[in-house]
């Protein structure tokens, strides 16, 4: 006599292969015989950050060796105070951010020279208010967000010309309500996340065209339930994070069909080796594993108790709370307090 429902295998919850994903993240450091391991050396710190967030989301943050990871991250700090993506790599905001995020998650921020980090980051803003990723000068609104976020961990956002940042971000807003990588740049969901997050931390969400942007974000959902990053582009699991986090800040996550999005993310899992890919059938990687799980958490996937993720910092909400940085919630414009 058939029961109504198949017995789900151990470690699988409503289709989410939790145990496999944990094993996948654990295995990443061991893949020395894969060329991918060497090719991604320059962003190793970010790889660890994505893996650690994924583990936190499923409550298995103790999987990695805390002391080893902290020691490794510390070894990536350079004399200018910034962090490179790996030992011996030049300092860059992207990897400084990942390094600081990892240390905050391990409650070990006091183990590094914070003053030097602040000095490195604040030195990357020019007179026009725009922010470079490193000493070589590539500018992007992502870096505006990152500089604000990093300094907020040290209570030092006043070391930046924050009005200049707000202006730079707002000038990057386009006719569709979205944000680009710089003024004139095409609206892209990842840039939307960074711009909205920057304005959220600085309490300047009044600069956002809430209706137009929310509508643009809601339109990222395509027929199969997945989200794309720009009009007429392919869906990709990572947009489950970039789009949903922004919608969460805007208070409009319910404008997308969350159940269909969850189905899409689950279908992109590698159910043999673990990990999540950009879309069904492709090879998994730690970046999409992290953002797929973030997306499930934001979309309210309820077959497993996923941790709440802070949509501005992309870190566990509990940890942001502990760091005293959830105050961005209180700075949301009062007029946004609708359903």
């Amino acid at each position: 006599m058939a029961s109504g429902k198949e017995q789900e295998e151990e470690g699988v919850y409503g289709g989410l292969h939790v145990d496999k994903h944990v094993e996948y993240v654990k295995s990443l450091d061991k893949r020395h015989n894969e060329i991918e391991y060497w090719m991604t050396e320059h962003l190793r710190v970010s790889g660890i950050y994505w893996g650690l967030v994924a583990l936190h989301l499923v409550g298995r943050q103790d999987t990695l060796n805390r002391e080893q990871v902290i020691a490794y991250v510390k070894s990536c700090q350079n004399s200018d105070g910034g962090f490179g993506g790996h030992v011996g790599h030049d300092s860059h905001l992207l990897y400084t951010m990942s390094a600081v995020q990892i240390l905050v998650m391990y409650d070990a921020l006091d183990q590094i020279d914070g003053a030097k980090v602040v000095s490195f980051v604040s030195g990357l803003q020019d007179d026009a208010g725009e922010v470079s990723g490193d000493q070589w000068g590539e500018k992007d609104t992502r870096f505006a967000f990152i500089s604000v976020a990093i300094l907020s961990f040290f209570g030092a956002t006043d070391r930046l010309n924050t009005d200049g940042i707000v202006d730079y971000v707002c000038r990057s807003m386009n006719y569709d309500g979205g944000f680009g990588s710089q003024p004139g740049g095409e609206s892209h969901a990842a840039q939307v996340y960074t711009c909205v997050a920057a304005l959220a931390i600085l309490g300047r969400l009044d600069g956002v065209d809430r209706e137009r942007l929310s509508s643009w974000l809601a339109e990222r959902q395509v027929a199969c339930g997945g989200l794309n990053g720009r009009p007429q582009k392919l869906e990709d699991v990572c947009y489950s994070w970039w789009v949903l986090s922004s919608l969460q800040v805007l208070g409009r996550v319910h404008w997308i069909d969350r159940a269909r999005l969850c189905d899409f993310i689950l279908s992109a899992q590698d159910t043999d080796a673990g990990g999540i890919a950009d879309r069904p059938g492709d090879i998994a990687d730690v970046y999409h594993t992290c953002f797929g799980l973030c997306g499930l958490s934001l979309a309210g996937f309820d077959k497993f108790p996923l941790e709440e993720i802070d949509p501005v910092y992309c870190m566990p909400a509990k940890i942001i709370e502990r760091a005293g940085l959830r105050s961005w919630v209180d700075k949301i414009p009062k007029s946004w307090n609708d359903k």
């Binding site: 015989n33 011996g88 790599h89 000068g137 006719y175 209706e211 720009r230 009009p231 007429q232 997308i256």
Partner: protein, 349 residues
């Protein structure tokens, strides 16, 4: 990575006489590596020597060649690009040949971030805008350096029509050297090739309005001349007809007019799209069944109601009906959005 097969047959640096004087600095984990595949061996060999020359800040042709090999195989390694930049400057390497090298890399690695910034730095050094500021736009477009850069970007776009680095790079060239007219022609070619290319539509806005550099975000949006607004409306409609479900032209024209010529939304755009959707029109069936048509109507009526308060009640009624249709028939996946939108269409706004 795909083009690296030819490198597999190179003699490893550790076996080359030229590199005898250098002790490679190994990756820490290499001591624990079990059965590395040959490809990994070759990469490790290159990286060991790269680390060694970077550590001693060596400035030499062999170091430059080595950065080229590493970047070809792994262009994401951003530190190597910076080392190369230093080497090129200190060795006085010919800019033209360096640009050719960047072109070679771009043909293998279309989506790499670093090469665009690197190229911009090279061009800025090679062609100071002040030295060509007296040239006309035609002369500028004919200038070999500028023509080459436009071609470089358009080749990248040929390979990936929505490569936003390439489109941003074009914005940089257009803005830096003041060659706006040719860009409009390029955009029209791209939209003709693919009316769904949102990057091209975004570029069109850029050419028409600029990117606001040198201004503050708080300055008001500049108004658009009537004749230009009319031209853009006709252009958008022409493209809407080709693919009514394509959000790009709808989003473009609504966004453009809302910001720079809001009256035109209801005086000119509205009657034109209603004509398309009217019974008996060739396009009626396809236009009237798209979410974009109804969603645009909501935007237009909302704008019109604000401008003409004595007609607002009737206009908002129509807009609310459109929201109902969208929620039930034309865009049900976003029904919660349309319910909300409907609730906002009230007189008290």
């Amino acid at each position: 990575m795909s083009d690296s097969d030819s490198d597999c047959f190179n003699v490893p640096l550790k076996e080359q006489e030229e590199w005898e004087d250098v002790t490679p600095i190994p990756q820490e984990e290499e001591a624990n590596t079990v059965c590395p595949i040959a490809y990994t061996d070759e990469y490790s060999d290159m990286m060991g020597y790269l680390r060694a020359v970077m550590a001693k800040c060596e400035v030499s042709q062999r170091a430059l060649d080595l950065t080229g090999r590493v970047i070809k195989v792994n262009p994401g390694h951003y530190t190597v690009w910076m080392y190369r930049k230093k080497l090129v400057e200190e060795l006085g390497t010919d800019s033209e040949s360096e640009l050719d090298w960047v072109t070679e890399i771009s043909e293998i690695h279309h989506k790499n971030y670093q090469l665009w910034h690197y190229r911009e730095a090279l061009i800025s050094r090679l062609l100071d805008p002040k030295t060509v500021e007296d040239l006309t736009q035609d002369q500028l477009v004919g200038h070999p350096a500028i023509r080459r850069e436009l071609l470089f970007a358009s080749n990248a776009i040929d390979g990936d029509s929505k490569n936003f680095h390439a489109w941003s790079y074009r914005q940089w060239i257009v803005r830096t050297y003041g060659i706006w007219d040719q860009e409009l022609v390029f955009i029209e070619t791209m939209i003709n090739e693919d009316v769904r290319n949102n990057s091209a539509w975004n570029q069109r806005y850029f050419v028409l309005i600029g990117d606001g550099r040198g201004k503050s975000a708080s300055e008001p949006d500049p108004p658009l001349e009537d004749s230009l607004a009319d031209r853009e409306i006709d252009y958008a409609i022409e493209k809407i007809i080709l693919a009514p479900n394509n959000e790009c032209p709808w989003s473009y024209i609504t966004g453009l007019l809302l910001r720079h010529a809001p009256k035109k939304l209801y005086t000119t755009l509205l009657p034109k799209i209603q004509e398309l959707a009217a019974a008996g029109s060739d396009y009626a069936a396809c236009i009237a069944s798209t979410a974009m048509y109804w969603s645009t109507l909501v935007d237009i009526y909302e704008c019109q109601a604000k401008a003409l308060p004595d007609q607002a009640s009737a206009l908002l009624d129509i807009a609310r009906d459109a929201c109902d249709l969208l929620a039930s028939d034309h865009d049900p996946m976003r029904n919660r959005y349309w319910d909300f939108r409907k609730s906002q269409l009230t007189m008290s706004k």
